[in-house]
């Protein structure tokens, strides 16, 4: 790094406890104020900072500290990403799907003594998987609205989806709605009056750079 600061010129004129000394060495400012100034992108410009050689030295020190901070975080994250995958599997192994099972939805069975149910969570899973089979759509939240515990009671379903740009939204929604009706008919006995699909967001297809950041 090219050091523009005059040789050996340092800004150690402050001590940790004496604000007056700090301000005296920084043209009336404090390190905290200079740090806030950097946070604001040095805007609006403050000549009493910009034109002060002492402040300039301190600002460079702060910037150097930030760069080191960034480099340290990158190094640490890099180190973490090189670890084997066991920590991920260990986490996933220790969580229970029951936490999101939701309500129980009865299924009829010929035997009067048998009691079959499918969970609300499983139904949401079916809806998601169905959506994932449709191109260029992400299914987000799925909500079953109504009393699912009483067989035959009509319910409605609210689904949030994200659609990639350039898609024909009404057509895609209809395609998705149809696929969901079919899947629900296959796996449940729910009487579904409506499936309301809300296109909550438009997003660009995931690109490689976004993925690289995570791995």
């Amino acid at each position: 790094m090219t050091e523009l600061t005059p040789a050996n010129r340092r800004f150690l004129a402050f001590d940790l406890d004496d604000t007056e000394r700090e301000q005296a060495g920084l043209n009336g400012h404090t390190i905290e104020q200079l740090s806030d100034y950097l946070d604001r992108g040095r805007s609006p410009a403050d000549p009493s900072i910009d034109d002060s050689p002492d402040c300039d030295i301190a600002l460079r020190g702060l910037e150097r500290l930030r760069r080191s901070h960034k480099a340290l975080l990158e190094r640490d994250l890099e180190r973490e990403s090189l670890r084997d995958d066991s920590w991920v599997s260990s986490i996933l192994k220790n969580i229970t799907l029951e936490a999101h099972a939701g309500r129980e939805i009865p299924l009829t069975h010929p035997s009067p003594t048998a009691r079959l149910v499918v969970t609300e969570g499983a139904v949401r899973g079916v809806l998601r998987e169905t959506g994932d089979r449709v191109q260029n759509v992400f299914v987000g939240r799925c909500v079953l609205v109504g009393d699912v515990s009483v067989p035959g009671t009509p319910i409605s379903i609210a689904v949030d989806v994200t659609v990639f740009p350039g898609e024909n939204i009404p057509l895609l929604a209809e395609q998705l709605r149809h696929a969901m009706y079919v899947a629900l008919g296959k796996y449940t006995e729910l009487v579904v009056a409506t499936i309301d699909i809300t296109v909550s967001d438009l997003q660009a297809p995931p690109d490689a750079s976004a993925q690289n950041k995570e791995h």
Partner: protein
Amino acid sequence: MPGTLREQVASPLAGATDQMLADRAADGDLRAFEVLVRRYGPLMRVYAARVLGSNDETDDVVQESFITAWQHLGTLDDGSAVKSWLMRIVSRKSIDRLRARRQHVNIDDTDAPAPDHHAPHALAEAESQTEALARVLAALPEDQRRCWTLRELAEYSYGDIAAELNLPLSTVRGLLARARKTLLREMEEWR
């Protein structure tokens, strides 16, 4: 078709927005949750290691944090805020650990003197600026380090830090100012 389904959806999910992943995970989608674990787990681990000052308990703290997150995802109103929500959880878990570890020490003591940790000159010359910063950070008094780490890694506002640590805003401001000056001074001496 079932065989190819997983491959088809696994890669798009990796690029999905935080909001989408949080919503799906709140609905019980383990694969979406796994993407969140991979996306923010490393940062949470770095965070926990910094706050705890060691790596020994990091695995436990991060694992506990994700288990808590999974159980409470339904309470997260805004899925796009999942990163700061996760950082808040790991921050609480880390602080709980500190409290448990040092029940007999008042960790809110803001006047703890900075330990004298000046490295021998030869050592200082051999280490990189990054390593020097890691060493100086680790030597900060605990209360300063907690504030600093919340600010720098979890990107908390001063107000968030005050609320999280149950400290007056002025105290947080003072701790951060002191930490910043100490870091500046130490890094300057290292140059």
